[in-house]
Subunit: 341 residues, 6 copies
């Protein structure tokens, strides 16, 4: 009967992004995730999970952190710096106060906030390098997101200028990334400058496709836009630096809007919602095939969010799901397959 | 490799409805189901599984039964009294003789059969109370089911009167349920007074929504009607007293009718058929989410019926299916989920 | 700009079934339908449209009727005798009183009603012959329709016996049809002995496929069963004696049942309803292709019923629809078509 | 061959909304639309189509306008005041300058702009009354639209307060509407406070469902949200004051986002776009049935916008489409329909 | 009621391809098509429709032909030279004898047949030029078509060499086309070297995208391959030289193969078949939009083939269909459309 | 938590077809497959897996092979003789050299190759009998496959003659099969004489339905043709002699052709491809139900081919998949199921 278990041969490390668990101290979370069988953590740069200022300014912080992870047998392949990154290009308002460290928020004057956020992102690259991590994921913010379906109509040129402004603001940051040997992975996501195929093409072009700027591919942001994450991986193959495993589900019945009615996640009347991986509309089979095809060998990092499922149950369920879904690429040359039939 | 097993954390007890196993003595069935890993039994009031007359009239019957279940570590959360209940409001004919105890059938004179069936249902509530069970599931029968798609056309008023007649016949029975602290759960089902959203609304209204009359939600009866069981749970949230896990599958190819051609179950040419849970059209994922949302904590009772699968294999397959499909609700407040993203 | 009108070259006569217009005197209806452009009428044997007793018993009735139709340029290819036919095999109850002539209903004693209905059907064949019409459409009634999805479960043998009983009751009637040179066309329809592929096969077999018993194909009764009317025409090609043009539409949204909730036609909450031809789910294009393939050259008779549309508007809309949908078969041998490409 | 034309019996007046034709003088447009066969115009309050200030301040303006319309045989059932209305509740920025009259824009200081826009809306009601028009359609603006899918996450309370703020700003305006005997019809539309079922429920509630505030139902804004316009009409039946005939089409292929990539209308890479009525995803058949069911007898006003079709061709095509799609409701009581079958 | 006719404003000339009518003398066909309202003919180079040898060798042939067309008011925008073209690159066998002129077939020795066919194609360009026609459509033949889904497996290199061989064989022919100012339009089609997106890309590349070699876009060959003809037009926009209006329909029911079972057209059991335009799966609306977008202003040439419809009825039906489906592009700049809303 | 494993109760032996593993010596492969849990091997008659000439001519070869399999606990229910069988009826060309043993290929003269292939197939039956195996699967080749969608059009009679020619060539071979008590199972497959319902009907008829000629049902060849493998099993129930478990997936997006563009397997731009069982479009649930219904008790033989997955991982994954998908038929009479509900 043992043969009937799904075969587990996940070819890539599976990590947990700690952003949704910032209420738990890192030690608690590390113990849990190790026990559940994760291979590592993608540390969020908030809560006490990874503190950029301490990493740069506090003697022994980095070493202690590394030892803590080693103790639990957990690797760290990437950091998540979404919150501060968001402030670099956003029009700043009170919403940002709740997600920024006080010293970045300061007096809340927008230009100052943006400038301090940019500096903190440079520090994040430096801190990552100290930890021996070469991948930082995050958000860029967007000067134009709020103009989505605008009335009065937008000046199309203003939208185009948004890409340039993001490139301008981030280029000095990326210079530091280059200097430190670290790469940035934008999580392509509504609310960001790039959130689909069209906007990703424009964004990469605005950066002159410099290697320091790549993508953290998270398919949950594509499914509710009716986008094909596997095709995305194939088109932007040389810029897929990191992959999130997260899922979303459309719940359209003629009364729920795909725009989600300004409702919070978890509300029954939304037209879509995030769900635990494997419970939604993302076609992970095709995504894995695409990742195999482009030769992606990095981590599959579970970002767990599901308003209708117990969080700890879900983390384990997601891990089991991805272990049985991820499979290794063929070692046989394609063209020989048929000759043998 | 152990990590790849689906995570099992079924949050609700899983029971087996014994109605389809009445050919097996209770002892045999109890031993099997305990061995397979079920948490309990929903005892059918036929065969030797639960005998209402003995429960009320035979010294020690109830205690012996309880001990037998305890011996196998099996709970009993509900009784199933479909057969006798059906006779309370049906136009009686020879078909009923095969499903009724001889003393209820008597001489088969319709009014007498109905009256005796009603009395037996009162006794069933009393017997349930003696066993310490507060939930009795079953059928009501229907004075109008046979008028489905009628020609000559129905008098619409006659259909409406059907709801009133059911309420009239069952109210005295429910008075006994109330007195005994037991609730009735109608299995919403074609052939019954309530079989979909519209008829359930009318039926509950006819009873003035008295708490004694609720629903045993069985999604297998909805899928072939193209009804959404999860939405049903949400709409009738305060009346979902018990849940069956059963499945059905549509097999429409332009030549098989959704009305099933008066063919028996298992015939290839039917447009739909019952199948083992997880093998059909019921969206159990969404049903579980709905049950989580409404706070249903009662049993998931597998009613197993599949003309194309071995029964004992199927019972175990169904148990494994529901164990890996049922998951606990979130303990985190919805509105905080995003703040952490 | 004239070229842009749909080409009208209906190859078959288009008639109107008068059953839904029995509130209008025949003269009024004939004038209207002639004005609208119909080619003829399928006269209902109720109201004053076609009165069987007068046709057989009243001097000059038939000649006057024929002259009236001629006056309006209207042909008559078939009669509709659904109401009396229904009583031949049905379990009789009060619903039948409203559809039967008083002299057929008599005292309402079931066996007598059925016997008188059978005699009236024989007379209908005789009256049709006097009018020079060789096709009578109608219902047979059914001894088993009310057993659809039955609980307590049916004895399957009882259902099978239903086909035999219908054949037994109708064979003497069909002997008169044969003697008069008239054929009967059962409108395959839920509530009748044959309502889909399976039951039509069994019914035709029960009659030994005698030519007197054929089919009035009405696709509106198939669409809500998910049946393919074109395939039906192909399978029963030699028994397609007459064709109704009528449509139905499914309105399934997870809350409306395909079984229609015992609601009257026109109710919003029904899962399907009849609609004016071309406004529903029937694929008339494929039906026309099938009729072309089997060489059907008889009338396309519009049976108009739509609770949401003005009746007179609808009749004209339906006529225009079928005129532009019906097209003639190819006169070129199939196998030569490609050779010329 | 004449019979094959679609039957035209549009039961409601068909008008053209002049907003997309503001580059044409009213006289030119009136002559064209009359020639094409329209029954009237829904006059936009911009260009020279309907000038609120002249209507109130210029002797004879209203009479001359009325004579001009009469000369062409055109009725006017409603005004369109979208541009100024938008400024009442929007956060004001430079985009608004291009859509507002200079005297409303003034110095562009947001609070002042909003106040002047509110006064102009009161004047619009007064001017409508002078013209004898009792319906003004338009936008409200929205204090929260730009928070759609926000990161950092919104405070849900802030969204809820948006509805209250709109009600607060518009209530004094609606008092004038009431005084003048004119009703406002919000075009439910992304960018506005109400754009789907959920937000319309909240908006109507915020106004205490006062009769002065109703809906201009435009189905083109629903199709790309996957909303069912017919169900919308049924749910908000007593608030459907006016109906636009406009269409949109989804063009999803896994690479185009339903969010439209911040691209202008007409761009190939958008996931949806507006199209001429009948060329898109709106189910006008069901919409007409719903309007028949709720007894809506007002105009069907074509708002024509399609970046891929010649405008004048399109206006005529749309008129022909709606003439053949609009059909009158049944005059026969529903319950009798079957009795005659 | 006149308003309800579909608006006809076909912006492009509509012609009939005469290939399927070669059994009719040109005079007969020209008279019919002019009467039906066609704007011109795409003359097939077989039957007596256009005789290449006479055009080059017979004094006055071309002038007489031109006068004949003028007499009927018919234009000629293109020739169809499919039959001879097919022989240029095909492996030759007996099937070719039935489609080739005797002098091209000769003794049937393959290399000779191919050489003579190539010469005849050069003559076709010369003859077209004499007639004043600059577009010749046709087939190329294919050295590899018969290797479709091959077992034993193909050597992939052999397939790739097929493209080169076609380019090699056709380049001298195209040199004559260039010299004569005529362009060739390959009808992309299974059985040819290019039949879908992939093979068209390779074929155009093999010709170095020389302008003499373009495409006759016929969407009927795409629908049964599940290809999107509109996207094809957009991708190969600068090579769409001519457009056929032809349709096909998939008839998949689980028993009919998309590969069509080696059955002739018109057989019921095929999984797809050609049908009259507008009766199949081609999305002509989207195709017209794509042609508008790329600025195609050439003819829409109906190639009529439908084994289930009368040919002459069908030609008129197809003409009416395309007249009401073809619509002119917008004359308004895209970006202004919204500003006016 | 152990209960949540899928229940494994595969009722049929699961074997691996060794054809795709011919690069591995039998001993290596046998050790691996035994270790993975397979029940047996379907030995390919190429590589060193099963050598027909040695089996007939080499003392002890068969015994040694049998002992080797026994040593690993592996059964052998069937041989696979696809390569040589293909040459019996194919038009022979160079492609065949790569798949044939040198002594069968000989000088490559077609008639001689076909004759030698036929003799080798007779020997294969004799060799199978020596091994105690009564089932040989394989291909027949086809004289007409290359005429699929032919232009110039085929003579339909030539296609029909193809069936006769296959029957003629194979009948002497089957006589040997009969003599040896061995049956042949054609793998119904494009490239063969039978590849769908229509061609299988014709093929079986051409053989007079002699029992020696049956079917090796492989559903992967049906899914990309849109054929229903379960219905195939039901229609040809008495000729289903062996079953392959293999899967294929359609990847249609409007740009990829279902005809696969002459691309090799594994190319991204193909419209379909083979995938590991359970990863594609085959509905194995329905196939298992059909096999249960027809009483098939033979092996389920995994033919593994997936260009995007590691081969050894895939073999284990496929075994686990089929173990949990295959389930035993019901032992309860169908008609009793409901009586107990």
């Amino acid at each position: 009967m043992g043969d009937s278990e799904p075969v587990a041969a996940s070819s890539r490390p599976v990590t947990l992004f700690t952003g949704q668990w910032a209420d738990l101290p890192l030690e608690t979370l590390a113990a849990k995730t190790a026990d559940w069988g994760f291979d590592g953590l993608e540390l969020a740069c908030w809560g006490d999970h990874f503190e950029v200022d301490k990493a740069l300014g506090e003697e022994g912080y980095v070493r202690a952190l590394r030892e803590r992870l080693d103790h639990h047998g957990l690797a760290c392949h990437a950091l998540g710096a979404h919150l501060v990154g968001q402030a670099v290009c956003d029009p700043i308002d009170l919403r940002h106060r709740s997600i920024l460290p006080p010293e970045v928020w300061g007096d809340g004057e927008p230009a100052g906030v943006r400038a301090r956020a940019a500096e903190r992102m440079k520090d994040t690259a430096r801190a990552a390098a100290r930890l021996g991590v070469t991948q930082v994921n995050g958000f860029t913010g967007s000067p134009v997101w709020h103009l989505l379906y605008s009335f009065p109509p937008n000046d199309p040129d203003e939208v185009e200028r948004g890409y340039a402004r993001v490139a301008e603001a981030w280029s000095p940051i990326l210079d530091v990334f280059d200097a430190e040997g670290v790469r940035f992975g934008l999580e392509v996501h509504p609310t960001e400058i790039a959130y689909d195929f069209v906007t990703t093409r424009k964004t990469l072009a605005a950066f002159g496709r410099r290697p320091a700027f790549g993508i953290n591919l998270d398919p949950s942001h594509f499914a509710h836009q009716f986008l094909d994450a596997a095709q995305f991986a194939l088109e932007f193959d040389d810029r897929i630096y990191h992959v999130h495993i997260k899922d979303s589900k459309r719940r359209l019945d003629g009364r729920r809007s795909i725009l989600a009615s300004h409702l919070a996640f978890g509300e029954e009347a939304r037209g879509w919602d995030f769900v635990s991986p494997g419970h939604g509309d993302v076609d992970f089979e095709q995504l894995i095939r695409a990742l195999n095809r482009i030769g992606y060998t990095g981590p599959l990092s579970i970002e767990w969010e599901d308003s209708g499922m117990d969080r700890e149950y879900g983390a384990r369920d997601a891990l089991a799901f991805i272990r049985r879904t991820d499979f290794p690429a063929s070692q046989v040359a394609f063209e020989n397959a048929m000759r043998r039939e």
